[in-house]
């Protein structure tokens, strides 16, 4: 018994790694899925977009890269779907260099696939990436063209009907930002939404989410933090629009099973670690 206890106490970290790997692999292999119960935060974000009229101007900024894609892509796709279903005018940009690739992926998977009637330049436009973080937001606050003379295909912005209607951040009806760090949602709130008075909704990685809670509800209408929130939004979208109700179309919901099991494993390890700590402390006290 003592030997087993010593082995647990001095567990090789590679054993922990193996358990975590299995905790993720097995649920994915057996498609372990759980029902989703959306929180008031996700419902608030969904309802706000639902209430917006057709033709609303929405700016979506893809401020993440492949490292955060598993968490953020599900919500990005869900928002693109929702905005396209609602027939909003979508302005797409990025503050991260790889955000432009992320945006391209979302356009390909949503607009080009499910909304063939959506016309580039009339219903949606992709102006791509610019470096400078908050400097970019500071300029587009009053004038897009000053920083974005052309779109990603090198055509002048003024040649698109979308930019005849809206030439600055102040002309937008909503900003949607999907953010993995800096520059991201914090900068959009500070330099974009607050000065422009344009409402903003955000999606962030789970790591970043607690730091953004102070902005809710006065400075940010709603915040989807992490994969769980993405899964909740997908559920809401699927319930309202049955063409997206199939769980196989929703990566967030598909991944939550493995997420839940991995949480249990980590909690188990923390409990075991604490048990060994308390046992050692009690033994130490006994000897003393």
């Amino acid at each position: 018994m003592g030997k087993i206890y010593d082995k647990i106490r001095n567990l090789d970290r590679r054993v922990v790694f193996l358990f975590i790997a299995l905790a993720v692999i097995i649920p994915l292999l057996y498609a372990v899925r759980f029902p989703e119960f959306p929180t008031p935060m996700a419902k608030g974000v969904f309802d706000h977009i639902e209430r917006m009229p057709e033709g609303s101007r929405v700016l979506i900024s893809f401020d993440y890269d492949p490292a955060s894609e598993p968490e953020l892509e599900p919500m990005a796709i869900a928002w693109m779907r929702h905005c396209s279903i609602k027939k909003f005018k979508i302005y797409i940009m990025a503050l991260w260099p790889l955000g432009q690739n992320m945006a391209q992926g979302a356009i390909k998977r949503v607009i080009l696939k499910d909304f063939p009637n959506y016309k580039y330049g009339i219903d949606y436009v992709n102006i791509g990436y610019k470096s400078g973080g908050q400097g970019v937001i500071n300029v587009i606050l009053t004038d897009f063209e000053k920083l974005y003379p052309v779109d990603v295909t090198n055509r002048p912005l003024k040649s698109f009907p979308l930019f005849k209607e809206a030439n600055s951040l102040k002309s937008m009806d909503l900003i949607i930002n999907i953010s993995a760090g800096t520059p991201g949602l914090k900068e959009w709130i500070q330099f974009g939404s607050d000065p422009a008075g344009t409402p903003i909704i955000g999606g962030s990685t789970a790591v970043q989410a607690p730091q953004l809670y102070p902005y809710h509800p006065k400075q940010i209408l709603g915040l989807l933090g992490g994969l769980k929130a993405a899964a909740e939004y997908e559920k809401l979208l699927g319930d309202k629009y049955p063409q997206y109700s199939d769980v196989k179309l929703n990566k967030g919901r598909m991944r939550m099973g493995a997420q839940a099991i991995a949480h249990i494993v980590i909690m188990a390890f923390i409990i075991i670690g604490n048990l060994t700590f308390f046992i050692d402390r009690a033994r130490g006290a006994k000897k003393g």
Binding site: V24, N154, L227, Q259
Partner: protein
């Protein structure tokens, strides 16, 4: 020698076992590629993924190879993106429109804007950092970057992260729900308000944390601990989600092991 052999065997399992499964799945027609390029790319991506994961067992040449490749590719990737998305339209498109008029529409006949010599010069000054003799002059460009950031942050942090936050903290401490006194609402708002005050008191080190101040500081620590505990929980969530995404690529996209799909 034994240790080295064990390492080789484990690495062989890490790479070999999934590769064998992959080949079998391809032979069974469970994995379909649209082109040879896609097949090669997916297998190479899987190899790189496993090479990085192999570091969890031990440092090894395949991990070092992947790490070196990552550094080189990412540096070049950012450079290329910056060149095509910023330098071409924003710098050359304005300073030398005749140079890029064949790439960017609408530049024919446009006159150069010589003010854009400023960022060009500062950019070149920044590159001087690579020189040991003239590296000091890159400070001029760095000063521009630092000055811009400081200038932008000075006002907006004061507004968004200070005044708006203080404004948001002034909330009703007694709340009603449908005209009736709400215990939960009152308690929650009191926790929020007092939590902010006590948290700020904890960080105020100009007064000794004794007596009433000490008690408030203690409450502040507990509020901060709850906050950090929640942050830890979210951090774990975030990291696991990233792992799930990668494992999904290996199992579904590469090996075609997609039950329930």
């Amino acid at each position: 020698m034994k240790g080295k052999l064990k390492k080789i065997i484990i690495l062989a399992i890490i790479f070999g076992l999934p590769a064998v499964i992959g080949i079998v799945q391809m032979a069974r027609g469970k994995v379909l590629y649209t082109s040879f390029g896609q097949a090669l790319g997916t297998w190479f991506g899987a190899f790189l993924t496993l090479a990085i994961v192999s570091f969890l067992y031990d440092d090894n040449p395949l991990y070092r190879f992947s790490e070196a490749l990552f550094i080189g590719v990412s540096a070049a990737y950012w450079m290329v993106m910056g060149f095509w998305t910023v330098l071409i339209p924003n710098l050359f498109g304005r300073l030398t429109p005749w140079l890029v008029s064949s790439i960017i529409e609408g530049l024919e006949g446009k006159k150069p804007n010589y003010f854009y010599l400023i960022p060009l010069i500062f950019g070149i000054l920044l590159l001087m950092r690579l020189s040991s003799k003239f590296g000091w002059i890159s400070r001029w460009a760095l000063a521009f970057i630092v000055g811009t950031t400081a200038g932008l942050n000075f006002v907006q942090y004061a507004i968004s992260d200070f005044t708006e936050q203080v404004k948001g903290s002034i909330i009703p401490l007694i709340t009603l729900n449908g005209g009736k006194f709400s215990i939960l609402g009152t308690f929650s708002n009191t926790v929020l308000f007092l939590g902010i005050i006590c948290g700020l008191i904890y960080f105020f080190f100009s007064v000794e944390h004794k007596g009433f101040f000490g008690v408030a500081s203690r409450i502040g620590i507990w509020i901060l601990m709850i906050s950090f505990g929640a942050s830890f929980g979210f951090t774990v969530m975030g990291r696991i989600a990233l792992l799930v995404g990668r494992v999904e690529f290996l199992l579904y996209d590469w090996l075609g092991l997609t039950p329930g799909m």
